[in-house]
Amino acid sequence: MDFNQSADENLFDHARIIGKPHTRVDGALKVTGTAPYAYERHDVADNPLVGYPLGSSIAKGRITRMDATAARNADGVAAVITALDIDELPRAKSNVAKLFGGDMVEHYHQAIAVVVADTLEQARAATSLIEVEYEEIPGEFDLDDAWKRLQDRDVVSHVGDVDAAFDSAEVTLDETYHTASQSHAMMEPHATIADWTDGKNMTLWTSNQMIKWTRKALATTFELDPANIRLESPYIGGGFGGKLWLRADAVLAALGSRETGRPVKVALPRSFIFNNATHRSGTVQRLRIAAGKDGRITAFDHSAISHTLPGGSGEDAVNQTRCFYAGENRRVAHHAIDMNLPESADMRAPGEASGLAVLEIAMDEMAEKLGMDPVEFRILNDTQVNPEEPSKRYSDRHFVECLRKGAEVFNWSERNTTPGGKREGQWLIGQGMAGAYRGAPTMDSGARVRLSEGRLIVETDMTDIGTGSYTIIAQTAAETMGLEMDDVEVRLGNSAFPAASGSGGQMGAASSTAGVYAACVALQGEIAKCLGVESARFESGQVVTDDKRVALRDVAPNEELVGEDTLHFGDFKDELEIGTFAAHFVEVAVHAYTGETRLRRTLSVVDAGRILNPVTARSQVIGGMTMATGAALTESLNIDSRRGYFTNHDLAGYEIAVHADIPEQEVIFLDTQDGASTPLKAKGVGELGICGGAAAVANAMYNATGIRLRDYPMTLDRMLDRLPDA
């Protein structure tokens, strides 16, 4: 199906199931611990061997010697494969660091060996028997140093005359900010069972967000025909972008299986999630804003750097500044600096999460300079067109309504406006807000639906990373076919199924449901053909034509009817700016003596087109806000700047928000539809929640204390000496 123009009124505007609250169809499996995660697929691979990786203990250099004799002779060991045993494996485009092979070391904990044994304990014990000698090469690990050295700026875009606008501006802001490197820290580590026993046909049961991409990456890495590779990833215990790519778990399991002729399973140890897998790069950002006394912004000038291994793209923190607010003159520049830390790559709202964490503090600072309310300042500078390219209008943007609704529900007008002016006992109380923007891209997405005996099976390689894909896909299929939720079974994450968008870039929900809709329409065509009619309606489990009603189960008894299609998104979208918007409001308490910051309540008002399921969508928004809280207050991969690695590589040292950190979180969805997005008029919300959330916390801290922090995470040591006298 081609989607070449904005959707008109259609069945989803009169929906029975779409847009209604449905709890997760996979919920029972999750809470009873019976959802089959990759490492536990005992049903498919009986009694696999277990692989355990060894990581490099230096950040950069060359391995000069490896001796695995003792490991090979250890109890239960079936095979040891070291990096010196094989040539460097070809890198897929999506891999910056090599995944295995060869003597060069590019980052700390890069995999340099895998031990395969009967049990995890045996494999783990044997890895420590491998002797390794290195020749170390000094590396670059300090982003601040790079920022200081930075001379010319790679301008990404420049519209108008920014320098002139600043020269003539009545009010200006010019500040520098830092965001920290962050880990996805998902609950389930990367894990794979590989069966490549014949060295020809490879089957992987794995935990991966992108089936199609990863199959391709495997084909490149092992120089195989993709047709010989099968991937299954039906349940994923969190990804946040960390599982978009082929990673070492799959590669090591595959190598182990080929070597031993048996299925092999590998889960990355927790410490590997931080230094072997990918992370979000920290940033240094300078942001300048110019405005007239009337509060109208005349110019933005945003430059940022992030780190990457050579060949990668880092964390582009300036993108949203190009289009979120009005202003005639604008310039953005981003440099991904080559450094020798582990591989930085996408993490939930790559770019925007870091960029809005800064832009939205700057907006708060600017409002204060102007003597304006931060909500009104944003309303005044709203835009309905892309300010870089005013001919490009926003397809559907209700940011102002988010702001107004949020202010009303949060009781914003009642807040204390004197920073540091409200105290309850030993706690300083503050309120802050921030805007949020995230693009709403879509990607061609396919599905197959099979109808037999009145029951529908949906098959697509779309993944569910805990987001609710199973549920919204079942809703879409039930809605389109006139069935009930119970009549639909959804099967995901299998390379044997039609290729879908996968889960990434907050495009999965909108794209994959559109693909399922297309497949259902194809099936409707098959059904009509069977009945010899041109068209039909589908309701209450029946096909309704002008002169008859036939139960779906009776259309073709004893036969399976199949519809398969891919929804292709047309390029009419390129003429439009399609995005999602939100306003976050936060109340914090900051301890006047110790500087501990605790959230008291949060509210997010969201404009993201049709909300397919308010239950699962709400989980996404509050989850994003929770992650933003971590980013604001605690989450930082600490760098040992001499040894070049992240030191706090466990979940005791890398502090994500815990239950006690998260208070009441309220979410309001505006009732909007964006016909330019998909036939369902839906957009994603998976990443919107994390956008701007950290800045809302930061602005509330400023309101509480009168101390403006510009470096994340905003831990107490950054403000202790500026708090009121004890």
């Binding site: 014990a125 410490s271 006047a592 500087g595 040992d640 001499r642 030191t647 005791a652």
Partner: protein
């Protein structure tokens, strides 16, 4: 994890004798710290002696009005004990500020005292650490190191790690004593100050226990009364080790005691600092933290300790 043998011994003195006899032995109580360390191959005992059957799991009154806490009393049971909550509230509060409820259910009194440091370099066997491997060097003292969590006082040129226990800070302020039995069956009692050793040039030696010697319990003296508080400062609201913690007892006569956690290789207390309590937090800290040697990254702990004590002393 290295292979090890395992046995269970249900008598403390016999367990001590056996531990002395079998080289590379370790006791296991709740296992919440030891097993983690074994998986990382930071601890590699050849033999584990399970002491969970020794019956050291009650809290009984002593003749002089105090309490004897068995070494195997869980952190949960101890914190929830009515006598502890009433007469030693600083201890109950410290316990409930530690770890998580699941961990506290397993964690024992003896094991809590002996938990190892949370220095990030101690936890990474690729890094030099004198505590793990005497003479290897100390990664935390190198330029560019991550030291925000580490110690500011009582440290040495060989190790700047802290002792992470909350419980021990409260025990120190309560003048509790550790009771042990050695392989010959002799018992002795040590104050917490005597029990914990400063790192000096042997940071691998953390306490005064002799080979085989086992902790049988902790003895609390008769209640001192007063206003008892425990304030644990951390970045997140739960499930995190202290940046700084303060245990405070203020008695009606205007006197009191103060001990700090998160700053030193042992719960940190000095008599001369206690004597300053009437003169406010600054005066106390001048004595208590005199001689501190913080790093750039953890110097904030000095300010934080003072401000946290001030918060406890403030009557608001």
């Amino acid at each position: 994890m290295k292979a090890f043998s395992y046995e269970r011994i249900d008598d403390a003195a016999q367990a001590a004798a056996r531990a002395f006899e079998v080289s590379g032995s370790k006791f296991i109580a709740g296992g919440t710290n030891l097993l983690d360390l074994m998986k990382h191959e930071i601890e590699m005992p050849a033999h584990l002696i399970d002491i969970n059957g020794t019956g050291l799991d009650d809290i009984v009154a002593t003749d002089d009005g105090g309490l004897r806490i068995g070494a195997l009393v869980s952190n949960t049971a101890l914190g929830a004990d009515e006598r502890i909550k009433r007469d030693y509230p600083v201890l109950s509060r410290a316990l409930f500020a530690g770890a998580s409820s699941q961990l506290r259910n397993k964690a024992s009194t003896g094991g809590n005292l002996l938990q190892r440091t949370r220095c990030p370099y101690f936890y990474d066997t690729a890094m030099p650490c004198n505590k793990r491997e005497p003479g290897a060097g100390c990664a935390a003292l190198d330029e560019g190191a991550d030291t925000r969590q580490l110690g500011v006082i009582g440290t040495s040129d060989h190790c700047i790690a802290t002792h992470p226990s909350d419980m021990a800070v409260a025990l120190r302020v309560l003048d509790a004593e550790v009771e042990t039995v050695n392989p010959e069956g002799q018992t002795r009692r040590l104050t917490l100050d005597e029990f914990y050793q400063l790192p000096g040039d042997t940071p691998n030696v953390e306490n005064a226990l002799e080979p085989g010697e086992i902790i049988t319990g902790v003895v609390l003296p008769a209640p001192v009364g007063g206003r008892q508080q425990y304030y644990k400062v951390r970045d997140r609201a739960s499930y995190a080790f202290a940046l700084v913690s303060v245990a405070l007892i203020e008695t009606d006569d205007g006197k009191g005691r103060v001990a700090l956690g998160g700053v030193a290789p042992k719960p940190w207390r000095r008599d001369e600092a206690d004597a300053e309590l009437g003169n406010g937090a600054k005066a106390v800290m001048e004595k208590l933290l005199d001689g501190a040697r913080p790093t750039d990254e953890n110097a904030y702990k000095l300010t934080l300790a003072e401000r946290t004590l001030a918060a406890l002393l403030a009557k608001e």
